[in-house]
């Protein structure tokens, strides 16, 4: 049994678990960055920048869930190929959309048709990360926008009274203080992000869902690759437990971060902490 669970194919499922963790590790900061950019843009003084920020938040949040993922990856893929086509093959006469087909010249294929397998996989992974980052960036932008507004006005006025410029007020007063207001929303988002990872499967990355289906199943009842019946149930049970544990650990860690951030803040929880320390 232990020997069976360490075959080459099983190694790929363990590897895909790492893929999911890597995805989370890469996407979360990028999404946060997108969110920060979006939120700062949405409260900018310059009108077009503000419209852009607000538009970004509104459009991405308004579109229903997985349809967005299905749509976005193809759209991004075709968009990139279209741009490359325009640049690389200027003397291409035929139209790109021929009825139902999307045709670009060979040199504009992304990745190149001759590229090795791992490039294709990495490219697919990068597209997935970008899609996740754009979608979750909008959500993060919304949370951060709310958090920036939640920072007490008096704090900003004090900073201005000390003669700080707008930029200084933003970086030295607003940003350090907003996190405590943003964290509940962000931690919620993190939970959602964890639970969104199986959608990688929809995006064509060979992730844990793919491998669980692949390894648990019997190809045909008589000629099977695997020396067991339909085990997909057990593989998915393992996935379920994996996600539950991951969620639980995140909850505990986030609670700790929250306790640390609350320290010395002008909120009810911060006040409670102060009283507890005094008593």
């Amino acid at each position: 049994m232990a020997c069976y669970l360490t075959t080459g194919k099983h190694m790929s499922i363990y590897f895909s678990v790492i893929t999911v963790l890597v995805l989370l590790a890469i996407t979360a900061p990028i999404a946060l960055l997108f969110g920060f950019g979006g939120a700062s843009a949405a409260r900018s003084q310059i009108a077009p920048l503000r419209w852009f920020g607000k538009g970004y938040i509104a459009v991405v949040r308004g579109v229903p869930d997985i349809a967005f993922f299905l749509f976005f990856v193809i759209a991004l893929d075709q968009g990139i190929e279209y741009l490359r086509h325009k640049v690389l093959c200027p003397d291409w006469s035929e139209p790109i959309r021929q009825g139902n087909d999307f045709v670009v010249c060979q040199a504009a294929k992304m990745p190149l048709g001759s590229a090795p397998q791992w490039v294709h996989e990495t490219y697919g992974f990068a597209l997935a990360v970008l899609t996740f980052a754009i979608v979750f960036g909008a959500f993060a932008a919304n949370v951060l926008f709310g958090a920036m507004r939640a920072v007490p006005r008096a704090q900003l006025e004090t900073a201005e009274a000390y003669g700080m410029t707008q930029r200084q007020t933003f970086w030295r007063v607003l940003v350090p203080q907003m996190w405590v207001y943003a964290l509940p929303g962000l931690s919620n988002l993190w939970m959602v992000l964890i639970k969104a990872t199986p959608l990688l499967f929809l995006l064509g990355v060979e992730d844990i869902v793919y491998w669980a289906r692949e390894l648990g199943g019997t190809k045909t009842p008589r000629f099977t690759d695997y020396p067991h019946g339909d085990w997909r149930m057990w593989y998915f049970l393992a996935l379920l437990v994996f996600y539950l544990l991951f969620t639980r650990v995140s909850e505990v860690v986030l609670a700790r971060i929250m306790a640390r951030l609350t320290h010395g803040q002008a909120t009810a929880a911060g006040e409670a902490q102060r009283k507890a320390a005094v008593a």
């Binding site: 229903p64 759209a75 379920l240």
Partner: protein
Amino acid sequence: MSCLQTIQDYGLRAIGIGERLLPRDDFTLCQQFTLIGSGMIWNIYFGLFALLMGFFLATALAMGKASSRAVLRKPAEWFIFLFRGSPLFIQFFFAYFLFLNLKSVSPIFDPFTAAWLGALIVLFFNTAAYSGEIFFGALQSIPKGDTEAADAYGLSGWMRFRRIIWPTMLRLAWPAYTNEAIFLFHATALVFFSGFPAWQQRGDALYYANYFADKTFNPFVPYPILAFYFILLTLVVIALFGLVNARLNRHLPQDVRPRMRLRPNLIR
């Protein structure tokens, strides 16, 4: 073929009435609109029934979680954690294969492997867990004065729950519950993407949208159509829940009433 003809052929295709074969080539806009719209029947079916049944289980779960007796509290807490802590996607897969295994044990489980029952049960438990958490939160924030007033009037037990606790809980939870309902309808799009097979190509809206996107290699038509239908559905849900919200808050002065704030979520 005129558009009216297409609607006759494919309008109820998702529940197996009308033309058997899906269009193969020369896809018209009308066909896409009709078939994706016909798929919405399933989305509405799943959402509506899961919501109706989930409501009662959610109330029970919230009362359980708020209970001081561990026998009631622990199962409710675990149920909520189990369904809120794992992706719905995985839940669908697991449930499908679980039912598939049970099927070989007893033929009673035959219908469970079909989407109409199996997926409905998963959605039912899922929305019950999410709404249960929302109701629990509302239960915790019922003003102390309300329950004290109930005690003062000598209300107790069922009467106290029915007259005071439950309406107040609903009133406080309603804006969040509206979000949950919208979110649930969006989640119904996952059904035919995960495990549950679409029998005789009777699928939901996303199934057909995906079918068209695959056939035409052009995602820019079917997915916006899908989005259009979902936005329409969302607006209907908001309107209906808004009516209920107005009724729940009818005793409050106009400016104290909680405003419905939409906070669409992405994935459960």
